[in-house]
């Protein structure tokens, strides 16, 4: 017994108290169960393609989930706002830009980039940032890594726009670069960061060896934000970023060359769908399976300015052919109360059972999908979450078949990251 607890500083106190209190009997000669060690903490195996992170701003964390087994693997707790880990596979690290106050909701503000070990999920280092990072309900593209994982770039908004650059090799702030009128951070190759500007232009900043500004190029406007803005919820494939506009046109921005190339936007809807008022909507309404070139988009029927409304369907496009392949009518992403899944017990009798199921399904359907992400393996999953529930609905990303719902313990879902391998192309 002493062996089991001696490796813990307080183990001896525990045992001493137990003996003192007469609560521990002698271990019998034939002990049915051995005395066990205290102090053990799980270390994760290597990341798997079907792992995903789901942010819960209410519980101030992002949860790591094994989509195959429906298991919660761990979490990072990182303060106020959506917690969006950046996944540096090469470094074996997970990073989060965090904001903390000395008295919880008040006092002195400290922004940090915290580095967590990918296997232990324990913080290993932190770099103090300018206390300016942008916080919003849109979870994506507020911070990113450069493709070589040398720098982390955090978007700031005070409301003056800038970026903070952290040197991950040297674990220090490399500097801050002003980006007036341009927002958010979209990584492309060559240590470059693209940003979207107020006038519909694209700003591309290249970083030098020390994380400073090597060059800055601003394109001509490629869309009119007054007429038909693209949403900031873009997805990346190689050096292309894809954005959908409010009116349902897909803009492809190719940053592989020196000068950005803007393909002619193509419509996600035909005339009939458009007159039926199908629209994009949700917090992360685009997803990609890169190998198959399948583009997923959350769709709903609604009027002008309903670009935040949850999706009732996911539409699947062949990106190369610019063609609608499939419409997936969404199942409920799962209703939860306080993070607990709500399903109807199977021993309920009719008509109670079917009515209760009907109500639960109706609530779930009404909740709709707010975030979608696909894994990037050969048997990809499409995950769909809802802001006001903790469930994750899983579909076969190649066939569109509904597979199952899983639950992470989250109470809200905002920001879905899959696969573990991260945002890189």
């Amino acid at each position: 017994m002493s062996t089991a607890v001696q490796d813990r500083p307080f183990g001896s106190i525990l045992v001493a108290s137990l003996l003192l209190l007469g609560l521990l009997g002698p271990v019998p000669a034939r002990a049915e169960l051995p005395v066990e060690s205290t102090g053990q903490v799980v270390t994760l195996p290597a990341p798997a393609p079907h792992w995903a992170w789901v942010a819960d701003p209410l519980l101030r964390r992002s949860t790591l989930v094994d989509l195959d087994r429906g298991k919660t693997l761990g979490m990072v707790s990182a303060g106020f706002g959506p917690i969006m880990p950046m996944l540096a596979a090469g470094r074996g690290e997970v990073m989060v830009a965090e904001t903390h106050y000395s008295r919880g909701s008040r006092g002195e503000r400290t922004d940090v980039l915290t580095l967590y070990d990918m296997r232990t999920l324990a913080p290993t280092a932190e770099v103090v940032l300018p206390p300016k990072r942008a916080i919003s309900a849109v979870p994506s593209n507020h911070a990113t890594l450069t493709d070589d994982e040398r720098f982390a770039v955090v978007f700031n908004l005070t409301p003056a726009a800038s970026i903070s650059v952290v040197d991950l090799a040297e674990r220090r702030l490399a500097g801050e670069i002003a980006t007036p009128g341009c927002s958010l951070v979209y990584a492309v190759s060559g240590r470059r960061i693209a940003m979207l500007c107020l006038d519909g232009a694209l700003l591309v900043i290249a970083l030098d060896e020390g994380g400073g500004e090597a060059s800055r190029k601003r394109s001509a406007p490629f869309f009119d934000p007054q007429v038909d803005p693209i949403t900031e919820k873009g997805v990346r494939i190689g050096d292309r970023w894809l954005f959908a506009s409010f009116e349902g046109y897909l803009h492809e921005v190719d940053l592989s060359g020196e000068v950005p190339a803007f393909a002619e936007p193509w419509s996600l809807f035909d005339d009939g769908q458009r007159s039926d008022e199908w629209r994009i909507g949700g917090a992360q309404h685009l997803a990609l399976h890169r190998k198959s070139g399948r583009l997923f988009a959350l769709m709903h029927q609604g009027g002008v300015d309903t670009h935040k409304e949850s999706g009732s369907e996911v539409w699947v496009y062949d990106l190369a052919g610019r063609k609608l392949l499939q419409r997936i009518e969404l199942e409920s992403p799962g209703l939860t109360i306080m993070g607990f899944p709500i399903e109807v017990p199977e021993d309920w009798i009719w008509p109670l059972s079917s009515i209760a199921s009907g109500i639960v399904n109706a609530i779930g359907s009404a909740m709709g999908g707010d975030e979608i992400r696909a894994t990037q393996d050969e048997t990809p999953l499409l995950a769909v979450t809802s802001n006001f529930g903790g469930g994750i609905a899983l579909y076969d990303a190649l066939t569109g078949d509904f597979l199952r719902r899983i639950y992470s313990g989250n109470m809200t879902n905002v920001g879905l990251i899959a696969p573990f391998g991260g945002q890189a192309p």
């Binding site: 106020f80 706002g81 904001t99 106050y101 919880g104 909701s105 008040r106 006092g107 503000r109 942008a134 916080i135 919003s136 309900a137 849109v138 908004l157 005070t158 409301p159 726009a161 341009c182 927002s183 958010l184 940003m195 979207l196 500007c197 107020l198 934000p225 803005p229 693209i230 949403t231 900031e232 609604g302 300015d305 309903t306 670009h307 935040k308 409304e309 949850s310 209703l335 009719w350 008509p351 079917s354 009515i355 199921s357 009907g358 109500i359 399904n361 109706a362 609530i363 359907s365 009404a366 909740m367 709709g368 809802s386 802001n387 006001f388 529930g389």
Partner: protein
């Protein structure tokens, strides 16, 4: 169609009859209401008719209801349900001086007003009367017209509690 399907379809049909806006568009459309009138707010909201349109009994609308005309571009918790009013923040919070803007039509005088949505900051999220309307809302890069940003800027804390809707002028859009 068997009975099970019938009951499910009925439930869904009833659920779909109500507004699909914001949180009310989610869980709310079915069984849940805002916080202002605790018992049957769904019915109350639908009784008010189209968004922004006044109820005959209350032409100005209800500042604790998401349908109130000033909230046409709000996304957050109504300060009026959280200890504040539609123009004043709850006790102990600090009103952000930096804001996003909406242009909303007052159904009483037919005028388009510029509305400043000031966040109330420094206490944890209110949790009452969540209201999301997106008339004229633009993406984050079009900053001053975006309601996703935590606008607790220029305040001593970025922690978001709730939001007010203040008339700061009439709009040039006025017809």
């Amino acid at each position: 169609m068997n009975m099970d399907d019938w009951v499910s379809d009925l439930t869904r049909a009833v659920a779909r009859r109500t507004s699909r806006r914001g949180f009310l568009a989610g869980i709310g459309a079915v069984l849940v209401g805002g916080g202002a009138t605790p018992l049957l707010p769904i019915s109350r909201a639908s009784a008010q008719g189209a968004p922004g349109e006044p109820h005959p009994d209350k032409p100005e609308g209800d500042p604790e209801g998401c349908d109130y005309w000033r909230y046409c571009a709000i996304d957050g918790f109504l300060a009026s349900c959280c200890g504040g009013t539609h123009t004043a923040c709850p006790p102990g919070t600090e009103m952000s001086p930096i804001t996003w803007l909406g242009t909303c039509r007052n159904p009483v005088d037919g005028t388009e007003y510029v509305i400043s949505y000031n966040d109330c900051c420094g206490k944890e999220v209110c949790g009452r009367c969540f209201c999301r309307r997106t008339e004229g809302d633009k993406p984050i890069y079009y900053t001053h017209k975006n309601n996703d940003i935590d606008w607790c800027m220029g305040t001593s804390s970025v922690i978001y509690n709730s939001t007010v809707a203040i008339v700061v002028g009439t709009s040039t859009k006025k017809g």
